[in-house]
Symmetry: C2
Subunit: 211 residues, 2 copies
């Protein structure tokens, strides 16, 4: 059932549904309609029904969706019903914010090691992590079973950080540095570039309102 | 020519093209083919040609695109050929990283004021910004002509931060807090949620390789 053919935008929406369902679970809401979930996510309800169809029939006619069941199924489908061990490369301002970001760990993305190449930072402790020299990445990767690399270096060092991660055998990378990075076949890379979202927003704000 | 009908994913790709073209300009590359730009952005070249068609005919047959012209046209189209005054709400770890994020300002997104509701933070200076009490948002918004609000509060305070921004008259919001926020009609909101990108990555890493 699970295939690579699911469009990325659909997976991104699913991440939003997971977030909304987690909020409902906290508020002890047991059942939700597709309209209710749609409203909570600012998505239209026919879109949600289409997205949910990707992982089987979950709705109960006349009832809606059981929040807990739907959340469980969605987490399993997305591969987030487990812990992912992550390595951070680059402990500047953004890196420090990531190390202290409680929600990442709560959602199963646990930073188990933090690397930097600055000799003045190596050995410093940030949010209970002792910063390790980036050259030790391969050795630490094996020891701590690291699967995901997060790059938070300055843009000009992002490619080198990616090379270190790939040489260490990491297959998935999130790049927070505002730079495009080349990776070989078989390595998955995704970008979190703040300014991309700002560009999207600026574009929408620049468009004159429709008549 | 410019309409709201351009899909968001297209605008996001355009933000990536701008980034790649800026890199080329720095390296004094004057002309680029659609294949060259495609390779630099990890997008296929027919996709790029389709995207570029949104803002007119720019390619020169047998030559490609003039980097500087294409970049200028793209910036104007996207509304990033100007400075956007931004207000930050929430000066925690992430807020501090945003205040020190040089590339945001370089791309025209200038944080002109930083707000927090914590009395222990008010008056503190971070990256040359004196932190201001959130209650003063409306007054400062008028004074500094703030157009975009960035929310970097803890998730449980994101809605309140949004309300403050909207009451002050801000029309565009980027929410970095991992929480869904409701906004009235006419307000544009976009999310930068780190864990959404991690979910997308986890999903791709969980999919067994194709045969």
């Amino acid at each position: 059932m699970k295939t690579k053919r699911v469009p990325k935008v659909t997976v991104q929406r699913m991440a939003l549904y997971v977030q909304a369902l987690e909020g409902m679970l906290q508020k002890e809401i047991k059942v939700v309609s597709s309209e209710g979930l749609a409203a909570a996510c600012n998505v239209n309800s026919s879109q949600i029904r289409k997205d949910l169809a990707y992982f089987g029939e979950f709705g109960v006619r006349g009832v809606g969706y059981y929040v807990s069941d739907l959340l469980g199924a969605m987490r399993a489908y997305l591969g987030i019903d487990r812990v992912w061990n992550c390595a951070l490369v680059g402990v500047g301002n953004l890196g420090r914010a990531l190390l202290r970001h409680e929600q990442l760990a709560q959602r199963g993305f646990r930073i188990v090691a933090a690397f930097d190449c600055d000799p003045f930072k190596i050995g410093e402790v940030v949010a209970e992590h002792e910063i390790i020299c980036t050259r030790r990445l391969k050795e630490v990767k094996e020891e701590l079973a690291i699967e995901i690399g997060m790059i938070a270096t300055p843009p000009e060092r992002a490619q080198r950080a990616a090379n270190h991660l790939i040489e260490a055998g990491v297959k998935g990378i999130i790049n927070f540095a505002p730079a495009i990075v080349s990776v070989p076949e078989g390595i998955t890379i995704d970008y979190v570039d703040f300014s991309h979202s700002l560009v999207t927003l600026a574009f929408q704000l620049s468009v004159p309102p429709e008549d």
